[in-house]
């Protein structure tokens, strides 16, 4: 989230789409309700089903799953057409005025793709997706053989009239997203769309800048083959309306799990290192070459300033290597650059299973992760595990992954005894048995305490991982082996190496001085061995170590900041600066410089976040300024300090995204119609698909004519609470939501069993016949949509009592991958519906 849970109470307008927070984040949703109660804020719910969120919204639009970009693009068009935009914000805080290279072409002019598309490789040459350098084309011509970079000085037009400026291109691109075509694609009637567009953009009526609107989403947006671009469309709309950086504004991802934010920050993902640092590739010949590629340089209009905070990338990275490898990482050995695996391709979730399916991955460790159930194409994942040599599962309950070898699929195929996989199942500790910090969706870290000891022979998760690692290290010490250096040299100097105290680990994450340091400006000194106050102290000369630069400041000499529990909120704006600690630097609303006008005065004096204090020559306020505190307003430093431009990217240049600098609507991989914008260019042209026996796709012609989406229930949590008798009593068994009209046509009554089949698998559960889903007219044709909650599998209270068909919903979903986030598409696919 750019903002936070409590900050929602400051909003005037909410667009909730691709998420159902009343259902999935009830206690955070209270702040949305608070805004309704105290500010009479309005709420628009756009969803494939009328949900619990819709039940308290002021307006509901039923959208066909996967057509969000069409809807949001329509909102951009409406805002521009009706002058509901934040002009001053747009000109000064975004790249709207930047001029784009003249050879850049929009999909409307290039057969449904952007300029640079290679039809044979299904990828883009992004050279044209760039700013024009000041002085005209050619001024900043790339040196032959090197990839193009952003021009240091950008051509711009503050009147926004230049036909090739970002704003004019944006206007042109989305002018095609008319209410008429939106109706045909999304199924939302034109009048209803216009009502929603009028309501959402009403916050910028007559140029007023006081009000703020927020966009709230979740995995209903990410689980698509163009998920990143849906979110980008939302972000662009928010920049256009001047809502980013504002209290009650922002683009707010409601993340699903207690520490999913922390796991992302900590880089439990193939393509990042802790703190969103880019992984090295084989193309990086040395540490310096890696840093050169990973470190952006400022790119902006000449009179403006850009902090370009990622210019410090080498400081964060060297400090990380010092935390990982201590004395073994030296300037002489390139900070142990060779110890890091070089990532040459996509190793993400779906590839991982595909690689196991095809024999590359032979062993898997799965901790607290029910891999066969959680992503798309469960049957393929089960088949992949059959081919693995070994699997280690760390869990607190019996789960589908550890028991894949006795899944109904395997039993039906009768090949349990042929499966050669060795499976170890290790009993882990529950949440109440562990301390440590979680990072919530609002980036707040909060320390928790252990209440009870582990039961039985269970062990703490960190102890299990430590013990496995130390045993492997011992084997390498004793026997030698392939490249043992990183294993032998990894820092593990915890007081109890067999079960590291998590407070010591948090200290390592925060970072410490390895030599005496002094700030040249303030003369403040830090002695060697002391904890660092924050990431501003990090150095790239080996004198600091820091496990995750964005967590620097979480455990300082003043102690564990994440354990702070001062609930006070002096500004009454939901900042609570003394509660836990949020990254970065305890800032609660990101980009909060944008909450002020160019002069540094808050857009809304009644919701002051930070402001420029002329007397002290500093930015001050109720929140920690997300800005260079002494940068004078007249210097025109951009508020988006992590971008090399310093401003928000309405146009995303060069390699920022794989599939276009502006989001363009494409149909989901399985969809009932062709793309109405471009016949023959139905799908995201750079999407990844696999071609194995388990990777099948269905079409309407084959009878897969119903749009299906999956969802979560508030009564259940993933595949976890099916072991909890209280939650099982609330919702005892799986079901399938369908429109009453559809049920009538198929002769299905509520409670009767229904079989759902896709090209990949099938699923049987009882029908929930409801008025909350209606038929839709998609391009003039009546189309139905169904929704299935996904909480059940083959192990759980209901499953063990024989109350369910013991199948996994994700046996239905397919594998097609968003080329940016590598997240698979499993929130919109085609199925058949039959009465059993």
């Amino acid at each position: 989230m750019t903002n936070g849970w409590v900050d929602m109470k400051n909003t005037d307008m909410m667009l909730i789409m691709g998420g159902n927070p009343a259902e999935n984040h009830p206690c955070g949703f209270k702040w949305a309700i608070e805004a309704k109660r105290t500010r009479s804020a309005k709420m628009i719910s756009v969803d494939p089903r009328f949900t619990r969120t819709s039940s308290v919204a002021d307006m509901f639009c039923q959208i066909r799953a996967g057509t969000d970009i069409a809807f949001l693009g329509g909102l951009i068009n409406y805002a521009i057409e009706n002058n509901r935009i934040a002009k001053e914000y747009l000109v000064n805080y975004t790249n709207a005025a930047f001029v784009i290279k003249s050879d850049f072409k929009l999909p409307a002019d290039t057969d449904g793709v952007f300029s640079g598309f290679d039809e044979t490789k299904f990828s883009y040459d992004k050279t044209t997706w760039n700013y024009d350098a000041a002085g005209g084309p050619g001024h900043n011509a790339a040196v032959a053989g090197t990839p193009p970079g952003l021009p240091g000085s950008v051509d711009y037009d503050l009147t926004l009239q230049n036909p090739n400026c970002v704003f004019q291109l944006l206007k042109k691109h989305y002018s095609r997203y008319t209410p008429e075509i939106i109706e045909r694609i999304t199924g939302i009637p034109k009048e209803q769309f216009l009502k929603a567009a009028e309501l959402y953009t009403s916050i910028r009526k007559d140029g007023d800048m006081k009000k703020a609107g927020t966009i709230i989403y979740a995995v209903g947006w990410t689980h698509h083959s163009f998920g990143t671009q849906i979110i980008r469309t939302a972000a662009m709309l928010q920049l256009l309306l001047g809502n980013v950086g504002r209290a009650g504004g922002g683009v707010n991802a409601l993340r699903g799990h207690s520490n999913i934010q922390g796991a992302t920050d900590m880089a439990g993902l193939f393509d990042t290192l802790p703190g969103y640092l880019k992984v090295p590739t084989p193309g990086d010949a040395s540490f310096d070459a890696w840093m050169k590629r990973a470190t952006p340089t400022a790119s902006k209009p000449a009179p403006w300033d850009s902090w370009n905070y990622y210019g410090n990338t080498s400081k964060f990275t060297v400090s990380l290597m010092k935390a990982f490898y201590g004395d073994a990482a030296t300037k002489q050995n390139d900070w142990a650059f060779d110890y890091l695996p070089k990532v040459d391709r996509d190793y993400s979730w779906t590839n991982l299973w595909n690689d196991m399916y095809n024999g590359t991955v032979k062993g898997m460790l799965a901790f607290g992760m029910n891999g066969v159930a959680i992503g798309p194409d469960s049957n393929k994942n089960i088949d992949a595990l059959k081919k693995a040599e070994w699997l280690v599962v760390g869990e607190i309950y019996q789960d589908e992954t550890s028991e894949f070898w006795k899944s109904p699929r395997v039993i039906a195929q009768g090949d349990m005894k042929q499966i050669q996989t060795t499976v170890y199942r290790l009993p882990c500790a529950g949440f109440a048995e562990k301390d440590g910090s979680f990072t919530n969706s609002a980036r707040w870290l909060l320390w928790k305490n252990a209440a009870v000891p582990t039961p039985g022979d269970c062990r703490l998760d960190q102890a299990i991982v430590a013990q496995i690692f130390l045993k492997v290290r011992d084997l390498y010490k004793k026997e030698g082996g392939k490249f043992p250096d990183p294993i032998l040299n990894l820092t593990w100097a915890y007081t109890t190496p067999q079960s590291p105290a998590l407070s010591e680990v948090l200290k390592e994450l925060n970072g410490k001085a390895l030599a005496d340091l002094e700030d040249p400006a303030t003369k403040v000194q830090i002695k060697a061995g002391q904890q660092l106050p924050g990431f501003a102290w990090l150095k790239d000369d080996g004198t600091t170590a820091c496990g995750n630069w964005i967590y620097s400041g979480s455990f300082t000499e003043a102690g564990n900041q994440t354990a702070r529990r001062d609930p006070s909120d002096p500004s009454n704006m939901g900042v609570h600066p003394g509660w836990g600690w949020s990254w970065p630097a305890n800032r609660r609303v990101l980009y909060n410089r944008a909450s002020c006008d160019v002069e540094g005065k808050p857009w809304d004096p009644s919701r002051k976040q930070i402001w420029w204090n002329e007397g002290s020559g500093k930015w001050v306020g109720n929140d920690v300024p997300d800005f260079k505190v002494d940068s004078k307003p007249k210097d025109h430093m951009g508020p988006f300090i992590m971008n090399p431009e310093g401003v928000g990217r309405i146009f995303a240049p060069l390699a920022a995204f794989a599939d276009g600098p502006f989001p363009e609507f494409y149909e989901p991989i399985e969809s009932p119609i062709d793309n109405l914008f471009h016949a023959g260019r139905t799908h995201n042209p750079v999407v990844t698909k696999f071609k194995d026996a388990d990777d099948k796709f269905g079409t309407v012609k084959e009878g897969f004519n119903v749009v299906c989406t999956t969802f979560r229930l508030t009564e259940h949590y993933h595949y976890w609470t099916k072991n909890n008798p209280m939650n099982v009593q609330l919702v005892p068994e799986p079901f399938i939501e369908m429109a009453a009209e559809m049920a009538d046509e198929l002769g299905i009554r509520g409670g009767e069993h229904v079989k759902i089949s896709s090209a990949r698998g099938d699923y049987i559960a009882k029908a929930m016949v409801t008025k909350r889903i209606k038929s839709m007219m998609i391009d003039g044709k009546k189309t139905y949509q169904i929704g299935i909650p996904f909480h059940w599998g083959y192990r759980g209270i209901a499953e063990d009592e024989g109350k369910t068909a013991r199948t996994l919903v994700n046996a239905l979903s397919h594998t097609a991958v968003d080329p940016n986030a590598h997240t698979p598409e499993f929130k919109g696919f085609l199925v058949k519906v039959e009465k059993v």
């Binding site: 849970w5 206690c27 993340r255 699903g256 799990h257 207690s258 520490n259 999913i260 922390g262 796991a263 802790p274 060779d338 695996p341 990532v343 993400s348 979730w349 590359t360 991955v361 062993g363 799965a366 992760m369 040599e389 607190i396 070898w405 006795k406 349990m416 060795t422 170890y424 199942r425 009993p427 440590g436 990072t439 919530n440 707040w444 209440a451 039961p455 039985g456 022979d457 998760d461 496995i468 690692f469 045993k471 390498y476 392939k482 490249f483 990183p486 294993i487 590291p500 948090l506 967590y551 529990r565 609930p567 508030t714 009564e715 072991n723 909890n724 008798p725 209280m726 939650n727 997240t823």
Partner: protein, 193 residues
């Protein structure tokens, strides 16, 4: 209190007369108060393990944390101080007691051998030794020091780690450290899906 027939006689005679004549109440407490079950329980502040709202919870255990007591959870409730949830919990958070005291918890290490149709018990030592040996063997068999172009890549493609999102930052960091040191690139997490 076991009333005898004799007591009953006394009670009815005297009490009945008193009630009839003076209008006194016979039973001083018509309402039996239920005892507040958490009155002297210990409070431990924790965070709900479910969604990313990160609600503060208070876990109530019997005993005052004295050495001779094994804490038993009697109740879980929202932390009223937590700025986000202010004491509230959803139906999952409110049932956390059943998660902590769940009789379906896994309590010992188990192994399923190749071709097996049952779980077998295994000691921690044996399990961890076998796992470590497998990791080493798989790594040594397939570690990629140089790619086809002769570039040093030090990459391990044959072992994968998939992690959940309900464990701590510190745990995740230890995992990332250990896996990257092994050279693991198939490193993924719930955060992706």
């Amino acid at each position: 209190m076991q009333a005898t027939r004799r007591d009953f006689l006394k009670f009815t005679t005297i009490g009945g007369a008193a009630a009839a004549i003076f209008g006194f109440d016979l039973q001083p407490a018509y309402a039996q108060l239920r005892v507040l079950k958490i009155a002297r329980a210990s409070e431990t502040r924790s965070t709900c393990p479910y969604c990313a709202v990160g609600c503060g919870t208070i876990i109530y255990t019997i005993g005052d944390k004295a050495k001779n007591v094994t804490p038993q959870v009697v109740h879980v409730e929202g932390d009223p101080d937590h700025p986000t949830n202010r004491g509230t919990l959803c139906p999952k958070g409110a049932s956390l007691e059943q998660d902590i005291l769940n009789d379906r918890r896994l309590l010992k290490p188990q192994v399923r051998r190749p071709g097996g149709t049952q779980w077998e018990d295994i000691s921690w030592d044996d399990a961890l030794n076998e796992i470590a040996a497998r990791i080493k063997k798989t790594r040594d068999d397939s570690f990629i020091e140089k790619d086809a172009k002769g570039v040093t890549v030090n990459r391990l493609e044959s072992i994968s780690w998939i992690g959940g999102c309900t464990d701590t930052n510190e745990f995740n960091y230890l995992v990332v450290k250990a896996m990257r040191a092994l050279g693991v690139v198939h490193l993924e997490n719930q955060a992706r899906v």
